[in-house]
Every structure is written in C-alpha cells, then in structure tokens.
C-alpha cells in the first residue's frame, strides 16, 4: 500500500472514531505539557557556589533549592499517570466498531501487518498532533507567563528552556510509545478476519488478596521511621525509593481491590435488589467486576495519594504547633523567622500536592465519562429494545447510577483509609516538651573513658509528651465527597446520552 | 407418486388386507390424494402378477372376500432398490403453473398474465395459510406436520416465483413480443 492509502484508511471512520482521535491527541498534549514542565524544572542551572547554592531569582522554594527540584520534577511527572490512564480509556472509545472495521480490511485482503500499521498510524498521528500542540502551548504559555515581579523574581521557570534534543524527544517519543502500545493492544484483533473475537471470560471471581498488598505497603511505610533512625545518612535515596515502592504497592492494592469490592457490592445488591434498576446494576457488577478497577483506577490512585497528603499536612501542622509551644515554653517569644518560613514552605508544598490531586481527580473523572459513554453506546441496541418494550429511560439511567455508585463509595473509603494510614505511618509521632539528654550508646568501658565517650554520645529527648496528629476528617471527607460528587456529575452527563442512544433507529441497524 | 412402492413399503411390516392398506396409506400420507379401493386392488393385482406380492390366505368374515397380502423376496428387493435410488432433481420444468403464464404471455397481453399471476398468488397464499393452520393446531401429529411442511416448502417456492415473476412480467412480455 502507498502511504497515502494508509493515511486514508487510518482516518476512515465515524464520529466516535473522530472523538477517539481528538481525545488521544488531547491526552498526548497534556502528557507532553507535563513532561515539558518537568524538563523545565530540571533545566534550571545551579548557580556557581556549591551544590546547595539557591537560584535566588525564583519566588518558589521548590524551584530555588537544588535539592527540591528533583522531587518537584518527579511530582510533575507523576501527573502524567492519570493522563496516560485517560489516554488508555480513550483508546477503548468506539473500539468495537473500530475492531470491526479493521477486521473488514482483513477480509478485503489486507495482511495482519498492514492492518496493524493502519491502526498504529491512527494513534501515532493523533499523538504526534497532540504532542506538537502541547509543545506549541508550552512555548506560547512560557512567553505569556514570563512576568518578573518588582524584584525581578519569577514564579515559574520561564527563563529556561529544555535543550532542543530534549524537546524533539518529547514530541517524537510520546507518539512512538503510544503507537507501540496500540500495536500491542491490537494483537488479538488482527489475528482474525472474522473480527468476532469473543472475549474469554476472566477465570474466577475476584478474591480479596489485594488487601495483602495494601497491608504490605502500609507495613513498608511503618518501617520507614525505625530504619531511618537505625541507618546512616547515605541511605536517604534508598529510603525514598522504599517509601515510593510501599506507596505504589498500596495504591496497586487499592486499585485491584476495587474489582473485589465491585463483585461483593454487586452480589449484595443482587440479594437485596428491589427494583429492576438495582438488579441490572448488580448483574453488571458481578458480570465484569474488573470494569470497576479499570474505570476507577486513576480516581482511586489520586484519592489514595491525596489522603496520604492530608496525613502529611496534619503532621506538618502539628509540628509547627509543637514548635511554637516549645518556643513559648523556652521563653522565645517571637517565632523564629527561618522556622516560620520552613513551616510555611511545607504547608504551601502541600497546597501544590492538593492541587495536583484535584487535577488528577478531574482527569480521572473525564476518563470515567469516556468509559460510561463507551458502555452506553456499546449497549445501545439492547437499551433501545428495552425502551421500545416500555422500560422507562429513567430506569436505565438509575441502573447506571447504581452500577457506578455501589462500588465507588466503598472503594473511595478504602482508598482514603489506605492512603491516610500510609501517610500517617511514614511520619513518626511528634514529641513535645522534654529535654535533650546525652546517652552513651556503647559498651560501659568505652563510655567510662571521656576520650571515647564523646564519639558515642547520642542526644535523646526525654520526658516529652508524645503527640500524634488528629485525623483530618474534614479534609478526608472533602476529598471523598469531592470524588463522589465528580463521579455523580459524570454519571449525570453520561445519562444525558441515553436519549440519542435509545432511539428506535438503533433497532434498524443490523 | 409411486403407489406400488408405497404399498410394498406398507406391506414390509407384515401382511395386510386391501382395506387395511388403504387406511394405512391415508394415515401415513395425510396430505396425499386419498387412495381409492379400486386403485388399491388394481395395484395389488399388478404386484401379484409381477411376483412382488403374494396372497397369504383368505378370511371369510361377514362381508366381502378379504384377502391378505404379503411381500415376496423379490418384492423386498424391489422396495430396497427403490429406496436407495436417488430421485432426479427436477430434470424438467413441467409445472402447469409455469406453462400457463408462458402461454398467457404468448396469446394475451401483460395485464392478462398479471391478473392470472395475482389470482394464482391469492390461491397459493390461501392454501399456504390453510396448511400452516393445520400445522399449528394443537391437535396436529408429526405426520401432519411433516406432510404440511413438504407442501408448504413447495408452495413457498411457487409463491416466491410468482412474486418475482409479477415484477418481471412486463420485461418478459417485451422479450416475447419485440
């Protein structure tokens, strides 16, 4: 085939295909923006004067301190996770129709390779378009946002630019990755020209094993403080990785547990179902419980991290309070300026984390909407037949609401609980008051000798009151409530599409 | 239909009187034209003459002579041969229906042919509905259903032909009368 033919075939399709292409491009653009932002942070040069020299022309400590920039870039990169999840969900949009179209190409004599190339080309081109748009937005945005304040300080790193090879890599590598992923996902389709690939039922029902992953993650976090105390300074990076691994394990556990929750919730709902809407929802949940995991993965991950952040915030707040109290007790009337700044910095950083979580929840809700619409359009013939048979559209709408809300409420609670527990256990209790006392940690012989004794002295806070931060119920409720509200909103938007999808015309198409 | 072979088949189960043969025939083949007694005896006579069937004793009860007939070895062979011979699948189109439409086009105009086709279609449809009603009646036996199915399939074929020919009759007429 000629390249022109390939492009023509790749772009042949209906409105759903157009929507998928547009959404693919959009997520590629978002991902490109996130990566470019992270690269900009990393592009900041440490001024001469040692590795700890701060870049004084930024207002934000996250950009100013060389030690923090790596973490900042990493956090921004983490935002690509929900974006990629959104991209994955968009790929499912109109997939059955697309698979049929590709199978028709095969029937018409195309080789498996050619069909794969057509599909890969669609994703690749759309992503390339998206990353190019992302780059353009980035370039325009940094010009618009370059507004030094009166002291010539900048809020954002608009004065630095990633190197040209880096930019090219972002624009080209992301579409390439997307294309490779879509090629992998198409393995099953291209194999058969008949296209009717009945999906094998996943063996067995979900089991509650993912709870073990959550426990493992929390255990890892709980070990953080003891290990840190027992270890030397050099292990910091390793410890950071340790906590990250624990967090990842726990979040994975939460996401996988959503499948089990869906299944259990479905069975419970089926037992107590009073209305047809509940019955429909219950059966759909038990039939494909993993749909819950797929649909809510990004949302639950964002919530778990958000809940962990509330634990950190509560801990920071308590520490600040304890410091103030200790200072007051020690007779220092004014709060130390540097301490004040540090404390404010940590709390402000938490604001940024919250913002990121909010963005992630919004993106996850968008993904949820895509999944909902896909679910409705895939069942439109059955829905149209039900409506023709006198089933009110409201019943179908309510069944979709039940289907989404039943698993999402317990899953959200689990995510919040797991995330909070994780965040809480990483931070040790805070000791207030008390006095620092030297304790010699060596053999009695070494301690008795004043010459060697000094080397084994450790200052220990004694007589203090151990204080733990209270559970930030309000923030957790806000987080969970916000997530459920966002879910409700998307269900409402999705249900609006029931009317066109239940029109009697759907019964004609065979 | 091959009445001699049907009678041979009915006798394969055991000896039967002429009257019993007639009854068995009408029962097994419910949609076939009913056999007349005369036809049964005439056929039996030919079968006896050819040595395919032989009289197997007489009973004189109150009434006419009742001869029972039995299948001979030759008769069984002849039946076997008939059963294993494949019927030629429609070697000639010799339906009166078809012939009539063709002739109507030759001697009359399109409207005449069309009127005939419509009338015939009505008759076919009525008969089709009659047979279907027979089939769907709760009292119908499998004999009825299978016999009705046979007739329905043929009527259905005729009807399809009538439908398509109605649409083609004008073109056909142009070809016959250029």
């Amino acid at each position: 085939m000629r390249p022109g033919t390939f492009v023509r075939l790749a772009l042949a399709g209906n409105r759903t295909d157009a929507a998928r292409v547009a959404l693919t491009a959009l997520s590629a653009a978002l991902a490109a923006l996130a990566v470019l932002a992270a690269l900009s942070v990393l592009a900041i040069q440490t001024p001469p004067g040692g590795p700890r020299q701060e870049s004084e022309h930024y207002t934000n400590a996250l950009l100013r301190e060389p030690g923090l920039r790596g973490g900042t870039a990493f956090a921004i990169l983490l935002l690509t996770i929900p974006v990629l999840a959104l991209a994955g969900q968009c790929a499912r949009l109109g997939a059955p129709a697309r698979d049929r179209r590709l199978a028709a190409f095969r029937l018409a004599g195309a080789t498996p390779g050619q069909v794969t190339r057509v599909a890969v080309l669609e994703t690749g081109l759309a992503s390339l378009l998206g990353t190019a748009a992302g780059l353009a937005t980035y370039l325009v945005g940094r010009a618009l946002l370059h507004r030094p304040d009166v002291n010539g300080r900048l809020a954002l790193p608009t004065d630095v630019l990633p190197t040209v090879p880096e930019l090219a890599l972002v624009v080209l590598a992301l579409p390439l990755i997307a294309a490779v992923v879509s090629a992998l996902m198409l393995r099953g389709v291209t194999a058969t020209p008949l296209g009717v690939t009945r999906r094998a039922r996943r063996a067995g029902r979900p089991r509650p094993w993912p709870a073990l992953l959550i426990a493992l993650g929390v255990l890892g976090a709980a070990l953080f403080e003891p290990i840190r105390r027992a270890s030397a300074d050099g292990l910091d990076t390793l410890l950071f990785a340790w906590v990250l691994l624990g967090t990842f394990t726990a979040v994975l556990g939460v996401v996988l547990a959503a499948g089990w929750i869906s299944h259990r919730a479905g069975r419970l709902l089926h037992r107590y179902a009073r209305s047809p809407a509940q019955l429909l929802a219950a059966r759909r949940l038990t039939e494909d419980p993993w749909a819950g995991s797929r649909t809510f993965a990004a949302l639950l991950a964002a919530l778990a991290i958000g809940a962990g952040a509330t634990a950190f915030r509560a801990w920071f707040a308590l520490r600040e309070q304890v410091w103030r109290e200790d200072n007051r007790r020690a007779g220092i009337s004014a709060f130390d300026d540097l301490d004040d700044q540090r404390s404010a910095f940590y709390l402000r950083t938490m604001d940024l984390v919250d913002l990121a979580v909010g963005v992630a929840v919004a993106i996850a809700a968008a993904g949820l909407l895509v999944m909902l619409i896909e679910g409705i359009t895939a069942r439109r013939r059955t829905y149209a037949a039900l409506v023709a048979g006198g089933v009110p559209r409201a019943t179908i709408g309510v069944s979709i609401l039940w289907q989404v809300l039943t698993p999402v409420v317990p899953a959200v609670l689990l995510a919040l609980g797991a995330g909070y527990t994780l965040g809480r256990t990483v931070n040790a209790d805070i000791v207030s008051g008390g006095d620092w006392e030297p304790v010699c940690r060596a053999t009695a012989e070494l301690c008795a000798d004043p010459a060697t004794r000094d080397r084994h002295i450790e200052w220990v806070l004694a007589g203090g009151v151990v204080r733990s931060p209270g559970v930030p119920l309000e923030q957790l409720a806000l987080l969970g409530g916000g997530a459920v509200a966002a879910t409700l909103l998307t269900v409402g938007l999705g249900v609006l599409l029931l009317r066109p999808n239940t029109a009697v015309e759907e019964l004609r198409a065979t | 239909m091959s009445t001699p072979h049907v009678l041979l088949g009915l006798l394969a189960g055991g000896t039967k009187h002429g009257y019993e043969l007639k009854r068995a025939h009408d029962e097994r083949l419910p949609q076939a034209r009913p056999l007349a007694y005369g036809q049964v005896y005439a056929t039996l006579g030919r079968l006896v003459r050819d040595g395919l069937v032989m009289p197997a004793g007489q009973e004189r009860l109150a009434g006419p002579d009742r001869t029972a007939y039995a299948l001979t070895e030759e008769g069984r062979t002849a039946l076997d041969r008939w059963l294993s011979a494949v019927e030629p699948p429609m070697p000639h189109v010799n339906s009166t229906l078809f012939a009539k439409v063709t002739v109507a086009l030759l001697v009359a105009d399109v409207d005449r042919a069309r009127a005939y086709l419509i009338a015939q279609r009505r008759a076919h449809t009525d008969r089709l509905r009659e047979l279907t009603a027979l089939k769907t009646a709760t009292s119908s036996t499998m004999d009825d259903v299978v016999a009705a199915d046979y007739a329905i399939a043929h009527l259905d074929a005729d009807l399809r032909w009538l439908h398509t020919t109605l649409d083609r009759v004008a073109d056909w007429h142009r070809e016959v009368h250029p």
Partner: protein, 233 residues
C-alpha cells in the same frame, strides 16, 4: 371488537416518506401479518402502532383511546403493560440470566422478585427453555435467545404483541418452532398479534396479510377466518 386502528398514518424520515397514509383495523385476538419488500415501511408502521414512534399525521387508536397523542411516559407505560414487543435479535440484557430477563417487565410493573421469577419460569417452560433459567444470553444459541425474548414479550400477558421479523435470525426449523408456539399461545389467550415479515411462509401464520408497497397498502390477503378481520381494505 376492534383492538387497534390506524387512520391515515403518515410518517417521514427527513424528506423520505416511510408511511403514506395507512388505514387499517385489527380485531381482538386477530393475528395480522404485515409484509412487503424491504423499505416499504413495515417496521415504521409497527413502531407507530406500538406507540414507539409518533406519526406525523393520522391517528393510532387502541381500544377507543387515541394513543399517538399521549406523552412518552404514558405510551411507555402502555407498552410495558398492555403491549409486548419482539424484535429480530439483541433485545435480551446480556448480564441478566434468562429468568431475570423474562421477569424484567413484571419487576417494572412492581411484582415481587419471587413471584416474578415463578412467572418467568412458567413462561420459559412454555417455550421449552426452562433449563436455561440461570444461563446468560451469551451462552445460548440464537434460537434459545429468541425463545427467551418471546417469553419476555408474553410474560405480562399483553393484549397486543408486536413482532418485527421475530424469526429473521433463526434457521427454518427453529423459526417455525418459535412461531408455532407463539401462535398457539396467542390463540389460547386471544392476544392480538401484529407480525412483520417479508417471507410468505411466515406471513401464512397470520389470519390476514397486509402487503405494503412504498408506504401504502398494496393489497390485503383476507384469511380463512374472514369474520375475524374487520373491514380493513
């Protein structure tokens, strides 16, 4: 008694007229077949009669009530209580078992789950698929699915059953078995049936055949029991 009437029905999709003035009467307990070539307006007529679509002009009267002017909610209610609908395929909910699918209309009407299941099992049994009660449609053959769908259409014991090519996706034998059972039950319960088909042999199951062509009635084949059929012409 006249069960269903259409008076001068007109319906268009955009510029293309599907129905061009259809008038017909269907008597109570009568089985009427609507036939004609593809695109003649058969399905549109059924959708209008069943209150799924609103005609652009004309009236649909069910038992002396003009239903085409009713709001959607009222027509929806009518469809699930007094009417039954049956399509060619794809009307069963994939996630529900056969028994739950059949029980669905009863549950919508407010019947308790146990009672609805009992009724559903009875109807599945009438169509010879009682052993499939707890099987999902995806694991059934096309014929089994259509038997379940027919059971669902009849479970509310509707006054009128609308069937659009109900055997279109089935092989001859299965189609005839489903249809035979449907016709027997309809006659037993004096259910009026409007049957859409393009096959003469399927239309022969009806008492009367109405042939459409280009949105108008081409001709009517009066059945054997002409007394049942009203004065439709």
């Amino acid at each position: 008694m006249t069960q269903l009437q259409a008076r001068g029905l007109v319906k268009s999709y955009g510029p293309t007229p599907a129905l061009h003035g259809i008038t017909l009467d269907v008597a109570e307990g009568e089985i009427v077949a609507v036939t004609g070539p593809s695109g003649c307006g058969k399905s549109t007529l059924l959708h209008c009669l069943a209150g799924i679509l609103r005609p652009d002009a004309g009236e649909v009267v069910w038992r002396d009530q003009r239903i085409d002017t009713w709001p959607e909610a009222a027509r929806s209610r009518l469809r699930r209580t007094e009417f039954g609908v049956l399509f060619q395929f794809g009307q069963l909910v994939a996630e529900l078992t056969a028994a739950e699918n059949v029980a669905l209309p009863l549950l919508l009407a407010g019947t308790g789950r146990r009672a609805a299941r009992t009724a559903a099992l009875t109807w599945l049994d009438r169509f010879g698929v009682a052993e499939l009660a707890d099987v999902r449609p995806g694991e059934m053959s096309g014929g089994q699915q259509q038997r379940c769908a027919t059971a669902r259409a009849l479970v509310t014991e509707p006054r009128v059953l609308f069937a659009d090519e109900p055997t279109g996706a089935l092989d001859t034998l299965t189609g005839e078995q489903v249809l035979t059972q449907l016709v027997r039950l309809a006659r037993e319960q004096r259910t009026t049936v409007v049957l859409i088909t393009h096959e003469p042999r399927i239309a022969a199951y009806a008492d009367r055949e109405i042939v459409l062509r280009d949105g108008v009635i081409d001709h009517t084949g009066l059945g054997l029991d002409a007394s049942l059929a009203g004065g439709a012409r």
